[in-house]
Amino acid sequence: MIGYGNSVFLRRNFEAGLPPVNTVAPAITGTAQEGQILTSSTGTWTGTPTITFAYQWKRNGSNILSATNSTYTLVTADVSQSIKCTVTATNGIGNASADSNSVTPIAAVDPDAQAFITAAAITDPTQQAAINTLVVDLKGYNVWTKMKALYPFVGGTATTHKFNLKNPLDTNAAFRLVFSGGWTHSANGATPNGTNAYADTFIIPNTNLSLDSTHLSYYSRTNITGPQVDMGVTETSAACYLLYNYNNLAFKAINRLEAAGGSTYTPTNGFLIGSRNSSTTEKYYHKGTLINTLTIISYAKSTYKMFLGAYSNANTASGYSSKQTAFASIGDGLSDTEAANFYTAVQAFQTTLSRQI
């Protein structure tokens, strides 16, 4: 008995020490975004060595199943939720827990949006978020695949405005814009001077567009009733592709030989879409609303490049515009529903950037 008592006494003396006590809370590092990896530090602890650590990641205070390592990969369920890590320190004396700071992850950036953001070097978080939402919305509305070129005009310089969101490479083949003449670039868009400014899209209808399925769109922030062309191409013996206004009339043509008159609408700013979905019908939408249905047959596609801020008359610019543009697109024809959804997505994009009309 004596020996047993001594043994207990000695063991207690040997084990006497301090349990873990947290002095600096664990901290989360990493990008709080869906798909990214977060890492939790142990924090700083006092107590008798050796201290071991266990981790439990939590979403809104509840344990996340199997999330018990120092790192954690954020999933969709974590978006906009409160994420933290509880670190439990244990030594021979006891254990204690401490919570890390909390983070609120954002949704992952769409790969197509990220490609544009990287290419155009867009650093402003609001502009990045607007681009991402635009891409996600267009995909959600199933119109993304109908786009040949999308020009969102973000970033405020010619170097950021030139990129095609659908194919953000700095090459003619990717249909990035090349600006000529007097342009003014700002956060609100690109403004041609109405004297000699135009932008070459490098899109040639005969090569790049479908005969009976084509759309053009142009988001103008300026209301001008003079003879100015938003975008297009003409050719003597081939079809016209045009969005323009002349003497208070809004003339449009999507792949037809000639204009059969204009349709009056005021104002001329806002989002205009011209779309051909068949060999016999063209439709025009202003701010998402159908304003014209014309029965006009399609014609041989133009073999010249399409311009913005003017029209291409066999690759020579004419009809110079001074309308500030904040968006333009070229692609396949859109249905009524698709045109309305397209407007909704683009208008939301402009609203995020505080430049909506």
Partner: protein
């Protein structure tokens, strides 16, 4: 009149006057990143560039455009595209 003498209002109505030789020299050349000169002819067939191109020019080879003489812009009539 020179660029530095223009009022804000005059910037909207004046253009830089080019010689034929200067026009040829500017064709296909950039005046600012991703922006290219576009000489055009006015109503009197003068070759001109815009005040924007003159003001924004940072290409060291063409800074002389900032010293071009300015003239009031007289545009050629713009026909509707279908009559072009």
């Amino acid at each position: 009149m020179k660029l530095t003498q223009l009022t804000i209002e005059q910037k909207l109505t004046y253009v830089g006057l080019l010689t034929e030789l200067q026009k040829d020299e500017l064709l296909g050349q950039w005046y600012a990143p991703d922006s290219y000169f576009n000489p055009i002819q006015d109503l009197n067939n003068n070759w001109i560039i815009s005040v924007e191109e003159m003001e924004q020019c940072v290409n060291p080879d063409y800074l002389w455009v900032k010293d071009l003489d300015l003239i009031p812009y007289e545009p050629k009539p713009t026909p509707p595209p279908f009559e072009a």
